[in-house]
Amino acid sequence: MSQDIGYVRTEMALPQPAPLRERGPLAWMRKNLFANPFDSALTIVGLVIVAMILPPLFNWAIVNAQWTGTDRTFCATVAQGGIQPDGWSGACWAFVKAKFGQFMFGRYPLDERWRVILVAIMFVALLVPLLIPRVPRKGLNAVLFFLVLPVVSYFLLIGGVFGLPHVETPLWGGLLVTLTLSFVGIVVSLPVGILLALGRRSKMPVVKMLCVIFIETVRGVPLITVLFMASVMLPLFLPAGVSFDKFLRALIGVSLFASAYMAEVVRGGLQAIPKGQYEGADSLGLSYWQKMGLIVLPQALKLVIPGIVNTFIGMFKDTSLVYIISMFDLLGVVRQNFSDAAWASPQTPASGLVFAALVFWIFCFGMSRYSIFMERRLDTGHKR
């Protein structure tokens, strides 16, 4: 009857180490690889697939590969008129080695290639410190990279001034074209895309309508169509004698295209910012541009880094479409060289394509990793 139901803790419980079966590599494997029969089956199937694909690939690309040579005979079997034993199959890296200059520079004159290399060195020298957060003087660095470098590069690459011979753009090719197109596309599309996104969310009806029309028109047409029209149709409308550079047209086409996509990515970020952030900024008396530039965009862009990088990567690869207006980017030059009789062999196309894929992959993977790094760095505990 008089039983006391009250309870008072006299000592607080101390934390204890986790039980042994929750720690160590075995626990990790049980948890991640063999948690239940289905997981175990998936793990085994996965391992089998890897075991089936990796060794042949390794053999083709490394063990059996032909690393040196001066012409097709080194990459062809005896039956095909070459020196390799019949039934041989391996990558023809000799082809890539012989054509490496073309893959990088296209038909840019041999004596003038130092100019491209100089631009590349400046590009890397300015880009690397810009990407490493710890390096100081970001403002100066950014001005040099985004304003000075493009102007200097323009005169260096085109020439025609300071005694540099003129190199017309149809001679450009390879990685040079790929990187120039994507660099300009990235540098133009991000700010233009942001402005378009802000315009689309603007309360001013005319601005809003213009932005919507631009975005929807550009997004509604394939890039290949725009490039083709720019190359084939545009000259028909221009008065005789007026023409502007085909490469410039491609640059503008790619940039505008990427801008429209970027605008929609950024708009997604803008929509995710709570109304309270706008009100907080308003209540402090910040102007529209201060509010957007200091409060809304930094948060919105951080949220859509994956989308932005996705657009960059997409654009980087879409530059290959300039083959439609007979410009040759990396992939274009590689394919062009398949028809070189001196190197025609059954292994040549595969080797060239694998090389091109590897180069594209290195750049795209770099962008992807860097974006993940930035996402982590900019995370300030926004999520709760």
Partner: protein
């Protein structure tokens, strides 16, 4: 006795009006203000004059328009009819005037609305640096001064996400104070807080009131209202239903709706 007090308070108001008191004594003047959301008349015929140094608590059931009303005072919401004059400046579509008013009127929100990508210190210095053009160093000193006042100087380099709700709200108050506002608006500042954190925020607000800040506060903290308010305003269905000194308001509510409301919240 109590009723007499109330009457005399009213008389003082009338007297001031008769004496053509100078505009500098009036902080906020709302005259015949209406607001609509589409067809819905959310605020009806709001008349409210707030003198400098006055502390006003606004309460009422949810949906009564109390938040909307104080949000009209710094034009986070637009009114469609009537006049709102804040610090001698009438709120119209003139963006410049609106920014001027916002610089002088601080606001504290229910959900703090701190900027999560900036540190506490940066949250506090942003507006002084960009809006008031205060040199960075001076803005930081001032921010630290106000952070000490809300008793969290040691959190200055953390991010809002790392702070508790009560701490965040105190930062929000410090952030507003850094603009040296002449008027402070509080929109349910304690409604999103855990019970243990309400007190620390209210103490900060009481301190502010004791220094003579003009304050308009939407809150249901009736203890706070009794302690600091000069006037309590009760709103229902978009209009001011009753207005009185806190003593009178709580002990002698006159309107039926007020009586019902008080009986619901004062258990």
């Amino acid at each position: 006795m109590a009723i007499e007090n109330a009457v005399s308070a009213d008389e003082i108001k009338v007297d001031r009006a008769k004496m053509h008191i100078s505009d500098t004594d009036v902080a906020i003047d709302i005259v015949g203000m209406h607001k609509w959301y589409g067809e819905f008349n959310v605020l009806k015929d709001i008349n409210l004059r707030v003198m400098r140094g006055e502390r006003i608590v606004i309460c009422g059931p949810s949906g009564s328009g109390k938040s909307t009303m104080i949000r009209c005072i710094n034009r986070l919401e637009e009114h469609q009819k009537g006049k709102i004059i804040v610090d001698g400046k009438e709120l119209t579509n003139d963006l410049k005037k609106i920014d001027e008013v916002r610089r002088e009127v601080g606001m504290v929100f229910q959900h703090f609305n701190l900027f999560p990508h900036l540190t506490i210190l940066e949250n506090c210095t942003l507006a002084p640096i960009w809006v008031r053009k205060t040199p960075k160093k001076q803005a930081e000193e001032q921010a630290m001064h106000f952070l000490r006042r809300v008793k969290i100087p040691e959190q200055a380099n953390k991010y809002p996400g790392q702070l508790s709700g009560g701490q965040q709200q105190r930062v929000a108050i410090a952030r507003s104070l850094c603009m040296n506002p002449r008027i402070m608006l509080f929109d349910e500042p304690t409604s999103a807080l855990d019970p243990e954190m309400i007190k620390e925020v209210l103490e900060t607000m009481v301190g502010l009131a004791e220094e003579g800040m003009t304050m308009l506060c939407v809150t249901h903290e009736m203890g706070f209202a009794r302690k600091v308010a000069n006037r309590v305003i009760f709103m229902d269905q978009g209009q001011i239903v009753e207005e009185n000194t806190p003593g009178e308001f709580f002990d002698n509510p006159r309107h039926e709706r007020t009586k019902l409301f008080l009986s619901q919240i004062l258990h």
